[in-house]
Symmetry: C3
Subunit: 245 residues, 3 copies
């Protein structure tokens, strides 16, 4: 599906490509200065890369995290619109920058290519959704977007409707010795980070890579069982990849 | 439909059952302590009952209110995610607790059974939705979730799009001598309670039970007429029950 | 479609008519005083006109702006619920008032008639949406709802997913010498105005009418190209009208 989507043609020089979950990658070579000064991003970079989607954030963050590690780009801002078409979750709006527009272009190309892989651990059905991240070494995107600790193993899970997320979180934390970074529910965030009333309970955690992976796998198993009790048609957005890690 | 849904099987010990409007009931016998300490609920109970849904809150609150009255459970928190699939309203995320997990389990079982009844006074169509509560004696859930006065007759109405809610509210308050508790619109709540930008005007009120019921019935009649002018296919989620009260 | 919708019958005296994007126009001749006192609108008017919708705000604002100019009504409040069915945008909830209920009724009639015209510059598809305003002379609704400068040429553009809006804004501001009034993204508003986490980047601007129109037309061209790269089925809600201005 991704390959097909990448064939989408668009005459605009800003267009890089599209991916699953209504994701589009864009680059602005030299952004308008008035716009930049009003954007709440503290930067002088005028080459801006954009990864933006209607649905899903965890998979796109994983993809962009890897892309930023492989290029010389800086994470400028990560915003989570309360949009997900008819899920109770988020889309994403991520900006990266560099002195050199070719770095930005390369990073967004990589992120678009990897999005279809990483949204494989996003599961949806008519009754709700589940999203997971597991990174053996968190990079700047996971730090900026989800308060991971740089270079450490990082796990994230969310479940919707929110109560499913709570049962997942409970099993997750009991399954392996990991350190909770934060937990959120519709009304409660942590510091500057918040669900902004999405229908989710989310947690993120760090620790030994094996333990973090174990905890994420447990959350996934519990979430699948419960969401399937609501609607048996729970499916990965693309292809699950955790089992091959 | 409910009976069929209750037959859903799920091997998880936490699973109690499902009901209309993508509602699921769950129980955690001994919640993880780290999770509990970060949950913004002031409790030492570790047996937690969960009633959570994608869509609708009024009907689930009525069901849980009755369930809590019949058991020895305490309302721990009521959150209203800004999710309702493609309505402009809310889902719900309700937590109750007890020293004894069997009380919690019993309460959530009752709440799941009653949800299908009480969502009968939730009406939807492609153009909007209407929700109503009438309780002759408000219990702890209506107090915690909607600022009812405990033990007093309580009425609630909401209409979406918001302007329909305002006309309903106007007719409602003119139809019987009731006391307004609060009114909300997309941007304005009351104290800690807010619509969080849902597309609704809501009011709640108390007074003599006959008057409260009259006011709710008036709101329903007006809401049905106006919503049907937008889309004739307005339907109860299950079966209306006010007329048989 | 509008004509057909206007034929909708409704026995309620408050009903004026319906229009595209699940818009309904309503009038309350003498609003309940308790309700009025709790509405966060500073007014003694009891004749209230209502324009309210599930989806879209820009087109309805244009329609109501013209309607208010043609009657002796005052803008009382403009709220933007975070509802748009399954778009990542807003609906609207607008209240106007007058001493004389016939003025209010006339204004809402005009607004309903004009809504179908002005939502012609709202474009949607499964992957996102675009909305535009261009007014040669902003009136009280554009001032209250979007911080236009009264009597001056005013332009507004939004694109979703948000990153498309940013590229539109960049091209827009580079295409003609206009003055940015504000820009917003999912997390950041300006003063009291905010997207409240919708999946949009929006800007509004003022200046010479020819320049403002040029900037809006550029934004539309860029937005159409990018949104079509995500989903070729981008369509106006009714009929585009900018080209005939």
């Amino acid at each position: 599906m991704n390959q097909e989507l990448l064939l989408n043609t668009c005459g605009r020089k800003e267009f890089i490509g599209t991916a699953a979950l209504d994701t589009i990658g864009l680059v602005i070579a030299g952004i308008d200065e008035t716009l930049l000064n009003n954007m709440h991003i503290d930067t002088s970079y005028r080459a801006i890369g954009i990864l933006t989607s209607r649905c899903g954030a965890a998979g796109q963050f994983m993809a962009l995290d890897e892309a930023v590690k492989m290029t010389d780009c800086k994470v400028l801002s990560i915003e989570l619109p309360l949009d997900a078409k008819n899920w109770g979750g988020h889309g994403c709006y991520c900006l990266i920058g560099s002195q050199d527009v070719s770095n930005v272009r390369e990073a967004i190309k990589i992120a678009i290519r990897l999005t279809d892989k990483y949204v494989g651990e996003v599961y949806t059905c008519d009754a709700g959704h589940l999203e997971f991240c597991f990174s053996a070494q968190a990079g700047d995107v996971l730090v900026a977007g989800l308060q991971a600790e740089k270079g450490k193993a990082y796990g994230f899970m969310t479940g919707s409707p929110a109560g499913i997320g709570l049962v997942m979180a409970d099993n997750c934390l009991k399954s392996a010795p990991v350190d909770l970074i934060w937990q959120m529910s519709p009304f409660f965030g942590e510091g500057d980070v918040s669900t902004h009333w999405s229908n989710e309970v989310m947690i993120s955690f760090k620790g030994d890579a094996g333990n973090v992976k174990e905890a994420v796998m447990t959350a996934r198993e519990v979430g699948m069982d419960l969401l399937k009790a609501m609607d048996p048609n729970v499916e990965s957005v693309t292809q699950p990849y955790f089992d091959s890690l």
